[in-house]
């Protein structure tokens, strides 16, 4: 093994960055330890090497570091996470150091947290339906194993309740396989993190969870490493221990802001809103770690949470995320105000992988046609709701009014449910038919006639009898 070299040649410190000179054998991307005058240790990573000059980003921030008395050790390795089956049930810091009272981990292996891209040829297509018990997800935007489906939220919206519900209820139909939850907190409040941890405690799932916690008051630069630690743990659990892992990353907006801070300190040419031009690529190296691999049992399903500044979907963080992830669940402030919970904004929400995960032998044969019809009817009803607020209900034709009535009922009964209500996919599908029964068969253009004949009579009777 290469001996560790020590240098006391720090020249510049600027923001989270530090310049060390007269270094030999420094390698791009490797990590350093920085010993301060008082003997405390900080951690850093090499961002650039030019001849003997090395640029280091300091994870814990540079406050208190001085130029003269600091010692920098070049550890000649990338940032690593020590893994073993014992990581389950443990809480780590944003830099992968145990944070709970448990014993230190004796690793069976040390993994580079940057991982390696999955060869696209080795991927297995995600097609196993996950039942979340939430109608707007299961019925309209089904989640499948190995998918990455973010929640686009805003400040003050209940994304924490929704992610907790995901973690609590997500199951694959008819299977009792090994699962685990990996939770990465990036710059969220103590309260939000504790809410999630308590929820896992209450359901007993805490034994199967690994947590990496970087709270709002903890170093911002550390957040750049946090999701990578979490995903390295997830890859280990999924592809070495054959578990089905649900990864929750909360909140990606804070991650991107940390990245922007580094980029600004390096004086890079900024892209939109000051975020670096490589934000897309950087986010992709995180999100694309979700998936399934041929010949391996486990899977990584990812639910990143991000808060959209000013609820603006075109802000670079949600925008670039949406281009990488396989759909998005968008929360609506207006539904939230109306007391609809979870306030999922159905129309712009989308699951790209739904079509392969549903249908006969998976959920039910009528699923695809049904959600197409519900979408079409709700879109039209929503339009009528808006029209009615402008011109008054009287201006609508009878048909239009029917669609508006549908939209109202849909929001009250289909979208709205309790955070603790766990609906089976059959219940969700039946509810869809029940709501559609206010239309004539001929109006249900998106549903196959045979399916209408098979399913609808039941609900018409019900509606007629009521």
């Amino acid at each position: 093994m290469r001996s560790v070299k020590e240098y006391q040649t720090v020249t510049n410190i600027q923001g989270p960055l530090m310049m060390v000179e007269m270094v030999d054998e420094a390698k791009f991307g490797h990590i350093v330890d920085i010993e301060l005058a008082d003997g405390s240790i900080r951690h850093g990573q090499i961002l650039q090497v030019e001849n003997d000059k090395v640029l280091v980003q300091v994870f814990e921030g540079t406050s208190g570091i001085d130029v003269k008395r600091s010692t920098v050790r070049f550890l000649a390795k990338p940032l690593e996470l020590g893994v073993s089956p014992d990581i389950l049930g443990r809480v780590f810091s944003g830099l992968g150091v145990p944070k709970d009272d448990g014993p230190s981990i004796i690793p069976t292996n040390r993994l580079d947290i940057n991982g390696q891209p999955i060869n696209p040829y080795a991927r297995d297509y995600p097609n196993e339906f996950i039942q979340t018990g939430i109608s707007t997800i299961d019925g309209l935007n089904p989640l499948v194993r190995g998918q990455k489906l973010p929640i686009f939220s805003g400040s003050g919206l209940p994304h924490d309740d929704l992610t907790a519900q995901f973690a609590r209820q997500a199951t694959v139909l008819g299977k009792g396989e090994d699962f685990a939850v990996v939770f990465a907190a990036m710059g969220i409040t103590f309260e939000a993190a504790q809410f999630f941890i308590d929820d896992l405690h209450n359901t007993g799932a805490i034994e199967r969870a690994v947590m990496f916690i970087n709270l709002a008051n903890e170093p911002a630069i550390e957040r750049i490493a946090t999701p990578r630690f979490a995903l390295t743990a997830a890859e280990y659990l999924a592809f070495e221990l054959d578990m089905h892992v649900l990864v929750i990353l909360n909140d990606m907006t804070n991650y991107c802001e940390a990245l922007r801070e580094i980029s600004a300190a390096r004086k890079e040419v900024p892209g939109r809103r000051g975020y670096p031009g490589y934000l897309y690529t950087d986010l992709a190296t995180i999100y694309e770690r979700a998936g399934r691999i041929k010949g391996k049992k486990g899977s990584i399903t990812m639910v990143p949470v991000l808060t959209m500044p000013e609820d603006d979907k075109t802000h670079p963080v949600p925008d670039l995320t949406g281009y990488i992830t396989e759909g998005q669940v968008i929360l609506s402030r207006s539904l939230h105000r109306q007391g609809v919970a979870p306030p999922v904004d159905v129309l712009p929400s989308l699951s790209r992988l739904k079509d392969k995960g549903i249908g006969k032998n998976k959920t039910r044969e009528d699923h695809a046609d049904l959600y197409n019809q519900l979408y079409a009817a709700y879109a039209r009803g929503k339009e009528m709701q808006e029209l009615a607020t402008i011109m008054g209900e009287a201006a609508l034709s009878d048909e239009d009014r029917k669609y508006m009535k549908f939209a109202n009922a849909f929001e009250a009964r289909y979208i709205s449910q309790d955070y603790y209500e766990n609906r089976t996919v059959q219940q969700t599908l039946d509810l869809g038919w029940e709501l559609l029964s206010m239309f004539e068969n001929a109006e249900l253009k998106r549903i196959d006639v045979k399916l209408i004949e098979k399913y609808m009579p039941k609900f018409r009777q019900k509606a007629g009898g009521a």
């Binding site: 054998e25 791009f28 961002l47 650039q48 696209p120 991927r123 690529t281 992709a284 197409n372």
Partner: protein, 593 residues
């Protein structure tokens, strides 16, 4: 040959490495970087220092490590074995790499694009003593059931053939010799190489003449692309760019499809990989994979290789075009390609133009799309080839004023504008009929064997588009003063355009029948929708209430016409009779009153 030039690394910043001691190296030469032997390409020279974009992750590279100049530009291997392959951005076979290094990509791997061991049966089409020049076809290899691979004389080689023979050969074995007039000999192999950044030579460019039929109604009927044409599909995320690209890759009537997944999702490539071998080509009944080449440089794979991936793709496509085939290339997404350029440019500390993109962005985009076209191929026998390029663009926030969109619109001839609102209503393909355009519409009539049918189709598309235009105005009026204010004729126009949207333009890519609609079926369907409109107008003249017309049972038949299989196309014709019968009844009842 002299010793290879070796420099040393002085700087590493992400995907860009600077090396000194590189005097004499040429721009765009490929180099191997560091102890890990990473592949890179020279993108800037200053004195004896060279800036190199590295196609692989550079963690662990440091100053002092060697940089070896291979003294050749980035090239691809062209020959039998391309079809059914899946490559990364620099033509490394991803399927074979899984066998060697496992499910995750490792660095510095070296694997040729074409299988060296596989034997192909070569059948010469010329004999010894034939005088040949660049591009001349000398023989054939049956590569897949769908693909006869023509073996051509490489550009720059000419002379007299000798020793050519039939038999089983690997791509590296000699199948014959070509002796030049000056006495230079060139061994003829099944494989040739070509640098990806240079277009392959052709005899001359031709104007487009034929439609590339895609089976997608909104595209073929209203905004068709030609064989040899260019198109772009911009849209915000979630509007179905990728589904449009996949649908085209599946159903276009091209001989070869090259699909470049440039900086996009890994699972989408897996989708293509699992679906294509199972889907049948509607014309030949063979699996679609037998005419496809895939290039997958997903978003988490190195950014420099992403920059190269579109060039790799188009070079492969040109090679098949040179054989005289119709080729379609899909690039999803060109925005990621542009972003890769931007990232490299930033690291080179070049002065940025708009949005941080390099000043040469639009020149590069234009040059890329110009490699498309219908051409007279180089060499004999005389043949025509076509290369259509369809690029997806992913503008930030769906904003069409984005630099990449604007640069693309300058050069492409077809614009399919995807609209968020349509996608939210699950109207797919979410191509906005009011803002999209195509310069190839005049060739639509040529798709029909029957000349009259062609002219009728052309006329109907104008009528349908007029109705759709009218609808947007009428909806505005309804929004202001309510539906009651409309005349019966206008109300009918609104209903017909709704029918056009829902029953014709809307197409379900995941429905076994609806996913592909032949030109003839498109004709019949459109004719039926418009027939209802004309009959409706007559009925209104005869005093029938619009509400009665809208209640006719036949409307459900019109709505479901899309699900009628190609083999039962007569049923659509029958719907038109049904329309006439039911309208007649209404008119009769109205007259009786």
């Amino acid at each position: 040959m002299s010793e290879k030039r070796v420099g040393r690394v002085v700087k590493v910043a992400g995907p860009v490495v600077v090396a000194e001691g590189m005097a004499g190296a040429r721009m765009y030469d490929v180099v191997r970087v560091g102890a890990l032997n990473l592949i890179g390409e020279i993108v800037e020279l200053r004195g004896d220092t060279a800036s190199i974009q590295v196609y692989e992750e550079t963690t662990g590279i440091g100053p002092g490590e060697p940089v070896v100049d291979t003294e050749a530009p980035l090239s691809v291997e062209l020959g039998p074995g391309l079809i059914e392959s899946i490559y990364d951005g620099i033509q490394r076979p991803l399927d074979d790499l899984v066998g060697v290094e496992g499910s995750f990509m490792s660095r510095g791997s070296d694997m040729p694009g074409l299988d060296r061991k596989k034997k192909w049966h070569f059948k010469p089409t010329v004999g010894d003593g034939t005088k040949v020049g660049p591009g001349d076809i000398i023989g054939e290899v049956k590569e897949t059931t769908l693909m006869v691979h023509k073996i051509m004389i490489p550009p720059g080689v000419s002379g007299t053939i000798s020793g050519i023979r039939e038999g089983d050969f690997t791509v590296e074995e000699t199948v014959g010799t070509c002796r030049g007039d000056e006495g230079a000999t060139h061994e003829l192999k099944l494989m040739q190489r070509w640098p990806v950044r240079n277009p392959r030579p052709i005899a001359r460019r031709l104007a487009p003449e034929h439609i590339l039929v895609s089976g997608q109604r909104v595209i073929d009927t209203f905004f068709p692309i030609s064989k040899g044409g260019t198109a772009c599909v911009p849209g915000p995320f979630g509007t179905g760019k990728t589904v449009v690209q996949h649908q085209l890759a599946k159903w276009v009537d091209a001989d070869v499809v090259v699909y470049v997944g440039c900086g996009e999702r890994g699972n989408e490539m897996t989708d293509v990989l699992t679906e294509f071998p199972e889907l049948k080509d509607p014309r030949s009944g063979e699996p679609l994979m037998r005419r496809s080449v895939l290039i997958a440089n997903t978003s988490n794979m190195p950014v420099a290789a992403r920059e190269a991936s579109v060039y790799t793709g188009i070079t492969l496509a040109e090679y098949f075009r040179d054989m005289g085939y119709t080729v379609a290339l899909m690039a999803d997404s060109t925005s990621r390609w542009a972003e890769a350029m931007r990232e490299i440019s930033t690291r080179l500390e070049e002065m940025p133009a708009e949005e941080g993109y390099p000043a040469y962005l639009s020149a590069r985009i234009a040059a890329f799309y110009e490699r498309a076209g219908r051409v007279k191929c180089l060499g004999g026998p005389e043949r025509e080839g076509g290369l259509s390029v369809i690029g997806a663009v992913s503008p930030p926030g769906g904003d069409l004023s984005d630099s990449v969109v604007q640069a693309t619109l300058h050069v492409v001839k077809v614009f399919w504008s995807l609209k968020g609102e349509l996608a939210y209503q699950r109207h797919f393909p979410a191509i906005d009929w009011l803002t999209s355009y195509s310069f190839y519409k005049q060739y639509l009539k040529g798709c029909f064997d029957d000349k009259e049918q062609g002219q009728e189709m052309e006329r109907m598309t104008v009528e349908a588009m007029t109705l759709l235009e009218q609808e947007s105005e009428l909806r505005e009026i309804v929004r202001l003063v309510g539906a009651e204010a409309l005349s019966p004729r206008d109300r009918l126009a609104l209903e017909t355009s709704r029918s056009l949207r829902e029953d014709y333009l809307h197409q379900n890519a995941f429905h076994a029948v609806d996913t592909f609609t032949s030109m003839v079926k498109q004709y019949e369907m459109l004719k039926t929708v418009l027939h209802f409109h004309r009959q409706g107008l007559e009925a209104i003249e005869a005093g029938v209430e619009t509400a009665e017309i809208f209640k006719l049972a036949v409307r459900e038949d019109i709505a479901r016409a899309k699900y009628i299989p190609q083999t039962e196309i007569d049923k659509i014709v029958q719907i038109r009779r049904k329309i006439e019968d039911q309208m007649k009844q209404l008119q009769g009842a109205a007259a009786a009153k």
